[in-house]
């Protein structure tokens, strides 16, 4: 759905992150929400009906970018820049108790 203009046959990604366990290239300046938009099926499901959602606003006001980042559930992905080796997992429904 989105692709970096920096991406190309020869261009190297700045880092690798883990999205639901799969190694994924990522770029400096990108947020977790950006990654969710690039990787098919990485988005969250909604809290009530379980419908798929993807980041909507990128500015902290919609909460459709919630993800489990390095083990912390309900992290607002659009506010968190990627870091090498970061673990990003899709969040299903509402936050699970204890995470």
């Amino acid at each position: 759905m989105f692709r970096s203009v920096l991406e190309g046959p020869t261009a190297q990604a700045d880092m690798t992150v883990l999205v639901n366990g799969a190694e994924t290239p990522a770029w400096d300046g990108e947020t977790v929400a950006g990654v969710l938009l690039r990787v098919p099926g990485a988005g969250r499901t909604s809290a009530v009906t379980g419908e798929p959602r993807l980041p909507y606003c990128q500015m902290g006001v919609c909460f459709d970018c919630l993800a489990i980042v390095d083990g912390v559930a309900s992290t607002q992905g659009c506010l968190v820049p990627v870091k090498p080796g970061m673990r990003i997992e899709s969040q299903q429904g509402a936050r699970e108790i204890g995470r």
Binding site: D28, Y56, M59
Partner: protein, 459 residues
């Protein structure tokens, strides 16, 4: 330690206020949700210094570099990636960053936390593939992301035109631009003479429109937009010129203007005014930016939409107001005159009445099956049904439907609930209030609260 001023938001208004306050000798802490200064308008400004993205973002974007550098050099303490989740009287602020909560104290507070895009629900707006134009532009500024496949823009205002021009400049694809504005109307024309004072901005807008028209991508007079698809956006439908049309779509970017962020001032019980032209609430402030709560100031788009140039000037004005409040010995009136703050601000706002009249917020009634509350998935129909038997108080809707109780706390549904209540009770929209807002202003975890406890034990 107690800071003279805590500034919330490191965009044009917050940064210019911080720079001024430091010059006047005040101690300043600037907290911001973002990982780097610049706000949304200059997001990623320190990174996007050269290369194709920097060129495509254009000269107004590059203008942010000087202020950002001045802010970095100002000696203001800066806390990025930080959320403010509670503000208490005179003044204690509760913050979280990196999963840890802390408390800071201040003699005065400046809210310069900007705006958000006006949420306008329509059928299919929660589908993956649908997002705001502002969101897409932020993705461009953070990592150079361009939308792929059949990309459509729908909405009205300067931002979608600017974004489309930027995408085309980077050889990106746009299948079509669905213009939902009413076109040049009498009300807008009446404001045009004053708008000539800002000729460069006016010319810029016309140039963007010309480029899009030349590429045959502009479709005017669009209404009844609908996004459809199975698990993601696949096609669009709209009406233009009385004809229903369809198109394949992978990405739909929507925009219907911006509204101030008001959760903080609402939670603090500040007086607010209704802006009838642009249909939003903004905290009432005096000529120095001070709200009805002494010591609490607002500047920039958070105090009413004015754009980035006006925001930088209002930041300077608020800095002087704050200096007065703190008892710093300067002649604030003289500084206000010397720096021509009022003249600069009124020039920066010259185009605004024209834009406000040209791009009026949509007034179409929202169909019953459309989801209004993205968090709790409450439809317009459910809200309407409750509204018929309730008072015109949005909090009654919240209690009965959970609309506005999710993590976004009404940031997406507040104005829609207000509009539906006005419609059902046959009231002017501005006579219906916004949800009551209570802390925490952002959801916090038990772990974060626990970390605050540890901190207090250690004190």
């Amino acid at each position: 330690m107690i800071h003279d001023v805590v500034v919330i938001g490191a965009g044009p208004a917050g940064m210019s206020a911080a720079v001024q306050l430091r010059k006047l000798g005040a101690s300043v802490l600037v907290v911001d949700e973002q990982p780097a200064p610049g706000g949304q308008i200059w997001r990623g400004i320190e990174r996007n210094a050269s290369g194709p993205i920097a060129v495509a973002l254009g000269p107004d974007y590059q203008k942010g570099r000087a202020l950002t550098a001045a802010f970095r050099a100002s000696g203001a303490e800066y806390s990025p990636s930080t959320q403010v989740w509670q503000i208490e009287d005179e003044w204690t602020l509760f913050l979280t960053s990196e999963g840890k909560a802390r408390r800071v104290r201040a003699r005065a507070v400046l809210l310069s936390n900007g705006a958000q895009e006006r949420p306008v629900p329509f059928p299919g707006w929660t589908l993956p593939g649908v997002m705001t134009v502002g969101a897409a532009q932020i993705l461009l500024k953070s990592g150079g992301m361009l939308p792929q496949g059949n990309v459509w823009i729908a909405g009205a205002g300067p931002l979608p035109l600017l974004y489309a021009t930027q995408v085309l400049g980077l050889k990106g694809q746009i299948s079509g631009f669905l213009d939902t504005s009413r076109g040049l109307n009498l009300a807008a024309l009446a404001k045009l003479p004053a708008a000539w004072r800002d000729l460069p901005s006016l010319a810029k807008g016309l140039k963007w429109q010309r480029e899009l028209r030349r590429n045959g991508r502009m479709i005017r007079g669009v209404s009844d937009l609908r996004a459809e698809g199975n698990g993601r956006l696949q096609q669009l439908e709209w009406t233009a010129g009385g004809v229903r049309r369809k198109a394949k779509a992978d990405v739909l970017l929507v925009h219907e203007g911006v509204v101030p962020r008001i959760h903080e001032t609402l939670a603090l019980g500040c007086d607010h005014d209704w802006n009838p032209a642009q249909k939003y609430f903004a905290a009432r402030s005096n000529r120095w930016g001070e709200t009805s709560r002494p010591g609490l100031f607002v500047a920039g788009d958070a105090s009413g939409i004015g754009g980035w140039t006006a925001a930088t000037v209002s930041g300077e004005i608020a800095a002087l107001g704050l200096a007065g409040h703190l008892g710093i010995k300067v002649d604030t009136e003289a500084l206000r005159r010397e720096n021509q703050l009022d003249g600069r601000r009124s020039r920066a706002l010259a185009l605004r009445p024209f834009l406000d009249a040209l791009y009026t917020p949509p007034t179409t009634s929202i169909a019953d099956d459309v989801v209004v509350c993205r968090c709790e998935e409450v439809t317009a129909g459910t809200i309407r049904k409750v509204a018929r038997t309730s008072t015109s108080d949005p909090n009654a809707i919240k209690a009965a439907t959970r609309c506005g109780m999710g993590p976004c706390q009404g940031r997406q549904c507040g104005y829609t609930v207000q509009a539906i209540l006005a419609e059902v009770h046959n009231l002017p929209v501005g006579d219906v209030s916004f949800f009551n807002i209570r802390p925490p202003l952002k959801p916090i975890t038990l772990g974060e609260i626990a970390s605050l406890g540890e901190l207090e034990d250690a004190e």
